[in-house]
């Protein structure tokens, strides 16, 4: 029962969080500069999410296998490889390194 309450509270809270962005956006004047700033803000957050999920797991260094896979995927993306290749190459790199005993 506690789990179900947690799920419902998390669901309601998450919806309100998601809703607050567009509502805040309506309240401020959207000059082209503000629009650029908002898009750059989301880009910066996404980039930080990539880096933190590649290098840090549970508040500690993630080990080499994980960032190595993300790096391989990133290089392929930079060479404009299709996303399917990025996915498979990143996952395979990390999986094979782990298989070889690299943390």
């Amino acid at each position: 029962m506690t789990m179900f309450i947690a799920i419902m509270v998390l669901a309601a809270g998450t919806f309100l969080i998601r809703l607050s962005g567009p509502l805040l956006r309506e309240r401020i004047s959207l000059s082209p500069y503000a629009e650029t700033l908002l898009k750059t803000g989301a880009t910066v957050v996404l980039l930080a999410l990539v880096a933190t999920s590649a290098f840090v797991v549970d508040g500690a260094w993630a080990g080499w296998a994980l960032p190595a896979g993300v790096l391989v995927g990133g290089v392929l993306a930079w060479r404009r490889a299709p996303l399917a290749l990025v996915v498979v190459a990143a996952a395979a790199t990390t999986a094979l390194l782990r298989l070889a005993g690299v943390a």
């Binding site: 969080i17 567009p22 990539v50 391989v72």
Partner: protein, 232 residues
């Protein structure tokens, strides 16, 4: 509505979305499987995927709750992780801010990936809208299907870490963000923000560091003085 949209998207983009959906399906399978292995009934993990629809927070809240961490700690960790949707909604909210129905559904389907795909569509509003809805609806379907299947067939699902999927998901986001890093100031903002987030992630709860990355936007400050056209 979203199905009709897919006709207008080019094939490479649809292939990219399919690749993403395949990855999300496997993570959904593992979410359902892990929930069942922790003694969570299938209808609860399914309800969570339907009504929360935010993977990282679902794993975090469920993990804390099943480990006996309590209601407040579990929900707080999930909500903090989801705060990054505020800047996402501010950046791409206009894409789905049309009819009331689209506003409500589009809001619920806002994720890292739907944001990244919409941003990658660039300044073409029509393409951004079609891309957003195609990604958002596809991911909602595969995430929920994956959760249900995983909850029942948990033992058959491989560990996502063994498959290296924890590397694939950041790599997808990186691939989507990369085209947006086209001018010096955006790159500088990204690097500064990322450095701040990385340093902070060793001692702040997950979810807060990526928000602190927004301090990277200080390098955009000069734009207010008339140099704003530089990005175009």
């Amino acid at each position: 509505m979203p199905i009709a949209f897919t006709k207008h998207l080019d094939r490479p983009l649809l292939r990219d979305i399919a690749a993403l959906a395949a990855g999300i399906l496997i993570v959904g399978l593992s979410f359902g499987a892990i929930a069942t292995s922790q003694g969570v009934p299938w209808w609860q993990s399914t309800a969570m995927s339907l009504f929360v629809f935010a993977g990282a927070s679902q794993f975090a809240t469920m993990g804390i709750m099943t480990a006996g961490g309590g209601l407040v700690a579990g929900v707080a960790a999930g909500l903090i992780l989801n705060l990054r949707h505020v800047p996402y909604g501010m950046a791409v909210g206009g894409v789905y801010w049309t009819s009331l129905r689209a506003k409500i559904i589009g809001t619920h389907l806002l994720t890292d990936q739907s944001t990244a795909f919409a941003l990658a569509a660039g300044d073409d509003a029509r393409k951004a809208r079609q891309t957003y809805w195609t990604v958002a609806v596809s991911l909602f379907l595969v995430w929920n299907a994956g959760t249900v299947i995983g909850a029942f067939a948990g033992q058959l699902v491989a560990d996502p870490a063994v498959l290296g999927l924890d590397a694939a998901l950041p790599a997808i986001l990186l691939a989507l963000v990369m085209p947006g890093l086209k001018d010096r100031r955006t790159i500088a903002a990204g690097l500064l923000g990322t450095a701040v987030a990385l340093a902070a992630s060793f001692f702040l709860p997950a979810g807060v560091p990526v928000l602190l990355a927004l301090v990277g936007l200080v390098v955009m400050w000069k734009g207010a003085d008339g140099k704003r056209e530089e990005r175009a």
